[in-house]
Structures are given as C-alpha cells and as structure tokens.
Subunit: 247 residues, 2 copies
C-alpha cells in the first residue's frame, strides 16, 4: 500500500509520500514513490505514484525514456504547461495499459494505479493534478487544496480541519506529517522512510527535499507531541452526563 | 453507507451507529442500524448492521420470527451464551445467503454485510463479536477494545489513541461520538440521527439509549469544541525549520 498527499497552497506546493510496498505480508519492500523533474529557474514537477508497482515503474521508465530520446515529441521537460505534462503522464499510463492490461486480467490482477502530479512551469502559476488509471485527470481548483492517493482515509480528517489555501508551506508540511502519522499507525503497509518535497511559488526549483526516517528528530517529536495533545484535548472535552443523569 | 462501532470496556459496552442509507446519491434514506434485544435482569444484546440493507433487514426479520415462533429452537432470547447468540445471527445470515445470493449475483450485486453483536447474558461477562457475511465471526479478546463496521477508517485513529479497556463508559461514548464526527465530515453517506446505547456490566439491561439528532446540544458542543481543540493543538506543534534553515 501507499499513502501520498500533494497540497497546493497560495505560496507553493507540498508533497509527502511513504515508501512501503507490499505484495503480501511476507514480501515488503522499500520503493520511493516521489520523483522530481527539475530544470531550476524554468520548471519543477513532482510526480507521486500509487497502486501496482509494476505499472507505476513502467510509467516512470516510459517518461524517462521520452526525456532521453529528446526530439520534438512531448515530454515532461519540454511541454509548455502543467496540463500538457499531465497529458504526458496519462499517455504513458495508457501505453502501459495497452501493453499489460490483458495479461494482468488473465491473472485477475487489477490494473490499478493513481498518480499525483504537481509543480510549476515558467509562465504559469503552480498547478496540481490527480491522474487516474485510465490516464484522465482532474486539476485542483480554488476550492481544492489537496489530492491524496493510496490509503487516504485515516489521514484525511486532519487535513480537512486545518489546511486552507492560505496555510503556509511549513504548516502544510506539518499537517501532511500528522496525516501520515495517523495512516502509519493504522495501516502496517504504509511505512518510513518518507519523502517530503516543498516548492515555493515562482522559485521554479525544489525548495526542500527531505527524507524522513526513524531517526528524524522533528517527525518523532511531533508524533509524540500530537498524540499527547490529542489525548489532552480529548480529556478536556466535557463528558456526557447521560449515565449519571437518568439511567 | 454506514458507520457503526461497538466497544467492550471493563465496565460494560458502548454502541454507536449512524442511520443513513444510500442507494445512489438520489436515493438517501434514514434506517436505524441498531437493535436491542433485552430481558432486563437476564440478558441484554445489541446488534448493529451494515452493508446491503435488504440483506440486513432480512436477517433482522428472520431473527424476530424465530423469537416469535418460540419453541425449543435457538433464538436470541433463549440461548445460554453470547457465543450461541452470535451463531444465531450467523445462521440467519446464511439463510438469507441461501435464499438471495444467486439472484444478487445475476445482477452483479455483492452480498455484502457485516454485523457487530455485543451484550451480556446472565452467568457470563459482557462479550463483543464481529460477524462476517459468511456467518462466521470473531470475538474481542483482552487485546481488542472495539469492532467497527462500514465506513471505519476516518474514525479509527482517535479510538486507537484514546480508548483502552479501562476507559469509562462515558469516555467511550465521548470517543465514539468524536470518531463518528470525523466520519460524518468525510463521508456524505454517513449521517444523523445517531443511536447510542450504553450497557453497564452486570446490570443486564440497557443503561442508556439516546437518539442524537441535529438538536442534541451535547453532540453539537463537543463537535465544535473538538474542532477548535484540534486546530489549537495543531497550531501549538512546532513547525519544521526546513524552509527557513537550509533552502
């Protein structure tokens, strides 16, 4: 399983992903799910992947091959808009589907994958996309602050409660880590290390790319503090008087 | 969709369920998902249902018919243990499966249902079961404090963080309501009114059965206070200094 979240704020973008891959409980691996495509000062794109690892790795291989082949055909480093970049990813996904879907079907393996693509290309504002297995996609509008892929439910409530477009990048990173903490606690197939990428609007480069393992003091600190703060806040809530009142 | 949670504490049992049923977004209904079987002083059982409404209603009808027919055959009011009560429910489920599963399959409708059964029968301690669509079931052991059915993920992290077997019934009820709040905010197909049932150990009767609607001052109060407390606790967490530090 996987948990990835990408957030679009007024001041930039934040991406967080885990790195655990499981094909059964006796086959657990570490695979990074975040890839950065960057030409500093001109464009910066971040792609997060979830679902069938063979599918998402094939998509990444195709995207990289198209970069290396150069030429006129569209690739992530020569397209003029994030919309066209999302189409590149969708096209690569459809190529994998044409090549593999029937074989997967004959083994009753689902062609399941989902991607988040975000970033900024010179001349545009930062944009964020959620790309489906069929290669189609949706874009975050002013009403949407984030997209999640993978094991999204455990970590969703806290994002909904605290993050707005006006939140700072550091607030968004903090919230993404709290959201990841709730997910890791609930689903064994989501695990460290984490990849955190932060992009400041109009810098057109990665502002910060941090790999967070067990030894990350900040993450360990806020996990413990958050647990304690939740328990404290819960204890402070008034208790119902139903049992003492009428029963 | 549905969200139900049943909790087994040292001092008794707490059950909370929503009441929204949806067969498409244009077909939303209110159906209670909690049923109490009680003979005060002798036994008290609570059954929560989720999944296909036609299946769970058929199960309830069969269980009620067996009560009314009386006689020697096992029913929820004459079995001598909660284990046998769970078997009664499983048997009713299998009867529905025999009658309906093939017809459902021909319409590609899944025979999906899940139930939580808890309570106490004189001579036993309180017990809690999670019953699957196949009619088999598991029981909470000292390591398990709760079972959820339906849309369980949004509301799971808070229960894991704050509830132990030693929690009071009022704490458990408060936590169940907070867990429900997170679920209602994230999934439109989970909705009010709620059914909250509390059972004190060895009382062998319902201590409290509250129906909680929009107008319930306690629930409205803790929803607002909890949101505010979470935002406050989040704001108090230290922010990462990654962006200011090195980027």
């Amino acid at each position: 399983m996987t948990y990835c979240v990408g957030m679009l704020l007024d001041t930039g973008l934040v991406f967080l992903s885990d790195s655990r891959t499981s094909a059964g409980v006796d086959q657990i691996g570490t695979f990074r799910k975040t890839t950065v495509f960057e030409q500093p000062g001109e464009r910066v794109l971040v792609l997060q992947t979830s679902g069938n690892l063979a599918v998402s790795q094939s998509v990444m291989s195709i995207l990289r091959e198209r970069l290396q082949s150069g030429g006129e055909s569209p690739n992530l480093m020569n397209v003029h808009s994030m919309f066209d970049a999302a189409r590149c990813v969708g096209d690569a996904l459809r190529e994998v589907h044409r090549h593999d879907a029937e074989a997967l079907r004959s083994f009753a393996v689902e062609f399941n994958t989902a991607l988040v693509l975000g970033g900024q290309i010179a001349g545009e504002t930062p944009r964020l996309f959620s790309i489906y297995a069929a290669g189609n996609f949706i874009e975050a509008t002013p009403d949407n602050t984030y997209f999640q892929i993978g094991e999204s439910k455990y970590g969703k409530p806290i994002i909904d409660r605290v993050i707005r477009r006006s939140s700072s990048l550091n607030q968004a990173a903090k919230c993404a880590l709290i959201s990841m903490d709730s997910t890791i606690r609930s689903n064994l197939s989501v695990g460290l290390p984490l990849d955190l990428v932060m992009i400041r609007r109009d810098q057109l480069r990665v502002a910060r790319h941090v790999t967070i393992g067990d030894d990350n003091a900040y993450f360990s600190g806020i996990r413990a503090t958050w647990s304690e703060a939740l328990r404290h806040a819960f204890a402070q809530l008034p208790e119902p008087d139903w049992l003492t009142a009428g029963a």
